[in-house]
Symmetry: C2
Subunit: 455 residues, 2 copies
């Protein structure tokens, strides 16, 4: 292992140059206009898999963006690790808030800045280079490797789920390794064992059959923005509890053990508020911040638009207003059931003077992975070695819906080993990745393969 | 007069071609990018004034868009009429809802379609051509003419008010004539004697110092869209009364006489709802629709934006959300007082977990003009002759804040003689003007000058 670790340590700057190439492909999955870039990015991944030593590489087209598969099975009898990553990234708006163009990565203050620098290109690239390091130094990795990189994580992994079902034999493995989570804090090596699910809806309110003059019609005809605002305002009560009927019905109660674990992480609300720039935090009453983030479901408007939104004034009484509303779900909430309850509730509270259309954009289940198994032990040991500090086990507020499908479809343990920080601005302007976390990620990935080979 | 009327009637198609030229100039006053077009339009007006026979024409630059003045004072001893118009138009978005490009006027179904075809180019053009007809037939108009055309009506006439104060001598007149209102209904000649005022505000809610990932932070940090929605939802009570303290304090009670007049207009709520495409109307409880539109103040969101608003899904917990909120005011509400009350109330109801910025964009006072004077009689007589039917006197829900300033500054009666219909989509896609109303407008304008010369 010493050879491998030394090799990785002495090649960091080369890796950063290669990572920049990968990042420069603007693979925004949600934009129709970027379909060709998605294909280009999938081909880039496939080439990389081939270059580092994978013996079978295949690009699987889907109805959406391609899935890239790579494998090296030169260690019969040894475990097989399936490494998941996603090559698609979030949109970049608002563009004017970026200090540098989002797809022109730059290194500044010991960080690499760009869309995808962290989520997920920066993270998944560590698992490519760690495997390469074994080939380049000791001849081959200590375990069998399978890669599956998708291009639709940021839009709900709609085509990966059927793929997992269909390709169970191809994807057979002993453990799934995913780096798409965050570390609990800087310099705290972290294994994540729980993620929230996601349900993403759109609510469109229509009043008049056309935009009207707010002087000539204001006072007689309903205003869809005002009515949408009233609907949104009724989605939380004064204790910030979500008011959708049966929303909390299937939510698992937090065990005393987990509650105590969370307390030991000693999160400071004051520092947290300071970091995000608010005077006070806000959330469901009677729960701590970590509980609200990790084990309680939430509801947020992700976008709203209606009427005149440019600079200046236009006295319009608009015909329509639209909100994008997503919910983070926790075990054992069922996204499909919640979507039905949400739709029913919105239709019920909408007044007769408007019509309302409720659409489900996508969803994914919450996930909890068992922590008492060898794969988890290997994961904890690997990050502890890489970061030189004892690992903590946490849950996370974000969602990787696909985790549930991996666990359910492939019936294997999953290790969620994240190298990002919550403060890395993923999904925001000036996304970045700490160079030290990139480096420690490379080491952790290599240690993990090594640890795994011992079982 | 017969000559004049015949001349007008036989030149309608020429006038429409000239009107098209005027409309083709995209004079959108609110867009910075259209500053040159505004100048071009002001020059077009000035040339037209010169061409028809005005003896003094001047373009007055302002800090915003120019004011165009024209005069012919060849009838000493006869009354002087000051004709007001505005050459600026509303923005055209959403562009995709236009059946034809907004600045390429076309004639279809006995209507002319384009942005500005009605509001206000189509209407003010009638008063240019009527005056020309006198020059071309009987040699000169029967009264003295002054024109004042501004380019900032759609953005609050910010530079006209000081201009009126400064140029009182230049603008001295016996009556102000304005065609920027609507007819009560098709084929019902109408004189308007009351208009609502306007107060246009922006409310910006800020939570975190940057856009956050809604998974990693949702549940801990306030969502500015949700909070803005809560604020908006608190601006009306369940009876659709505006909840801003002291909002109704100065509102004049409707007289029994006006109430009865309104009743005689027999507005059908059912037909009104059908025309705008809603199941039921909505508005302040215990008032009829006409009362709500004409004599009651209202509050409407004209625009809202926050977070991700493109197609697809982005799981962002945004930093900011913005609403444009305007109020229509009635006598004797004071816009400046209401702006203060609004600001105070919003700041009071906003929770501590967000910061809120409240900005006044522009405002104008409500207006009522006296109806018992010769000018009004001339106006009623003119529209009755032109449309062949007895005129009705109405109030209107829209605002021409400048009316108050005309009345107050110039101390003259004002005649509001509108030829548009509420269904003409002014401020909306597919704005249009009925050709018969354009024609009757030309005639009414000529009859008015003739009637006025008799006093």
């Amino acid at each position: 292992m010493e050879n491998v670790i030394n090799y990785l340590n002495s090649n960091i700057s080369n890796y950063l140059e290669e990572l920049k190439e990968y990042i420069r492909i603007p693979s925004i999955s949600t934009l129709e206009t970027h379909k060709d870039e998605m294909i280009r990015c999938s081909e880039y991944i496939a080439n990389t898999f081939r270059t580092i030593g994978m013996t079978r590489v295949e690009i699987f087209p889907t109805e959406g963006h391609p899935i890239v598969y790579g494998e090296w099975l030169g260690k019969p009898g040894k475990p097989t690790v399936l490494i998941y990553g996603h090559y698609d990234v979030q949109p970049v708006d608002p563009l004017n808030l970026w200090d540098n163009p989002p797809f022109e990565p730059i290194i500044k203050d010991e960080k690499i800045f760009a869309r995808g620098a962290n989520d997920n290109k920066g993270q998944n690239f560590t698992h490519i280079k760690s495997v390469e390091a074994f080939f380049k130094t000791v001849g081959e990795p200590p375990v069998n490797i399978k890669y599956i990189f998708e291009g639709e994580e940021e839009i709900g992994s709609g085509n990966l789920v059927p793929f997992l079902k269909e390709k169970q034999d191809l994807l057979k493995c002993d453990v799934v390794l995913i780096s798409d989570t965050s570390m609990y804090a800087e310099d705290v090596p972290t294994i994540t064992y729980g993620l929230r699910g996601l349900l993403y809806m759109e609510v469109e309110v229509t009043a008049a059959n056309r935009d009207l003059h707010s002087g000539s019609y204001g006072g007689a005809v309903a205003n869809p923005i005002n009515e949408l605002a009233k609907i949104i305002s009724q989605l939380h009560d004064k204790n910030q509890k979500v008011t959708i009927p049966n929303f909390y019905k299937d939510v698992l109660k937090l065990s005393k053990q987990e509650k105590d674990n969370f307390k030991r992480l000693k999160l400071s609300d004051k520092e947290y508020a300071k970091e995000v720039g608010v005077k006070v935090l806000q959330g469901e009453k009677n729960f701590t911040t970590l509980e609200r983030l990790w084990v309680r479901p939430t509801l947020d408007c992700n976008g709203i638009i209606g009427g005149f939104t440019e600079k200046g004034a236009k006295t319009v009484l608009p015909s329509k207003a639209l909100a994008k509303i997503s919910m983070r779900l926790v075990p054992n909430q069922n996204p499909e059931k919640i979507a039905k309850e949400f739709t029913k509730y919105i239709k019920k509270i909408a007044p007769k003077c408007v019509s309302v259309d409720v659409r489900t954009l996508h969803y994914g289940s919450p996930a909890m992975v068992p922590i008492n198994n060898n794969a988890m032990k290997a994961g904890a040991s690997a990050v502890s070695k890489a970061f030189g500090k004892k690992a903590v086990f946490i849950r996370e507020g974000g969602s990787i819906p696909i985790i549930v499908d991996f666990v359910n479809q492939l019936k294997t343990p999953a290790v969620l080993m994240g190298f990002g920080l919550d403060s890395d601005n993923i999904h925001s302007p000036n996304e970045h990745f700490l160079l030290k976390n990139f480096k420690n990620g490379l080491l952790a990935s290599a240690y993990f393969l090594d640890e795994l080979s011992k079982f």
